[in-house]
Symmetry: C2
Subunit: 193 residues, 2 copies
């Protein structure tokens, strides 16, 4: 089967996270690769696209992001809920076999960055250093340098949740083991200018 | 009918926005009250609870937030999709009758802050001044000083979308007039520590 992964124009990249999905953050540095879950991810600008993510000082992935200066934000799908919860609950610092144990598989889309297989969308990010935000708020700002999506669920610049396999819906985390999948489409008329 | 609005403990306030809903931002200063839509809202800390929101320099509400130093983040519901799109499309600067025209009704929950009626959750916020973030990124950080929710859809510290009226589901904005409502619950087992 050919890959359904297609590039997304950078000016549409914000749409991959605009609806507030819980994300996976992955980073690689010095031979180590980690993947974590992050509900606190948010778009910050359209052009050039920027986003922000909260990385607590206790998470192992944070040091890899700081050292590499690059990371990936990906949008996991409903069928990955257990994987998302697992990578959010286990630290690479405690278990060097974390990725194997949690079933994470990686794919190559752009250089040496680690992209998590089976997600619906991926944003390659370059850190915009802001030491005050990072130390005081655990807040990391990045420019999006590349974007891709699974065309079965995002194409023509829009999510296609209403017609795609429900297993490809985005996840929206609450707490504990509780998530919601994204639901039904709601369309409202455009407002005359 | 008695009001279904109940206070939410501050340590649970992050859960009101953790699943990435599109929000309404309201502020009041100098006799003016405005309400805008914002998809770029995100939790930032648990205790004390903080959040962040992107307020473009072109939006009228921004000056009210800056001058008042306070604002409200509220979670609108599926049946308010037209209202959300309307307050996000019309500027109070262009139409002083914006709130009446878009059908916004206000309720009092805390002092003089303007809370939008009919939403499912409300977070009273006090700006944490960060001039660099505000001017460079249009990024505003705030501490949450009070939280309330409609107990028909949020109680015992959890959203109850799976059993509540679908009209009370949160909205997740994509672009144009396109939203998704939040969908089905997904529960995964807790990871043994």
């Amino acid at each position: 089967m050919s890959s359904p992964i297609r590039p997304v124009p950078l000016e549409k990249a914000y749409r991959l996270i605009n609806h507030g999905p819980t994300a996976l953050i992955s980073a690689r540095y010095g031979g180590e690769t980690d993947v974590m879950a992050a509900a606190w991810v948010c778009a910050l600008d359209f052009d050039p696209p920027k986003l922000m993510v909260v990385l607590d000082k206790s998470v192992y992935t944070r040091a890899l992001v700081e050292d590499a200066g690059t990371f990936v934000v990906q949008v996991p799908v409903a069928s990955q809920a257990e994987l998302v919860h697992a990578v959010g609950s286990i630290s690479l610092g405690d278990d060097p076999q974390k990725l194997a144990r949690t079933g994470v598989e990686l794919v190559a889309l752009d250089g040496d960055l680690p992209f998590v297989a089976g997600c619906s969308a991926w944003l390659a990010c370059r850190l915009v250093p802001e030491p005050h935000n990072q130390s005081r708020y655990d807040l990391f700002i990045a420019e999006v340098t590349g974007a891709w999506a699974d065309e079965r669920v995002f194409r023509d610049g829009h999510w296609q949740f209403e017609t795609a396999d429900p297993a490809l819906r985005s996840l929206h985390y609450v707490a504990g083991g509780h998530f919601y999948a994204i639901g039904e489409a709601i369309e409202v008329p455009e407002i005359p200018g």
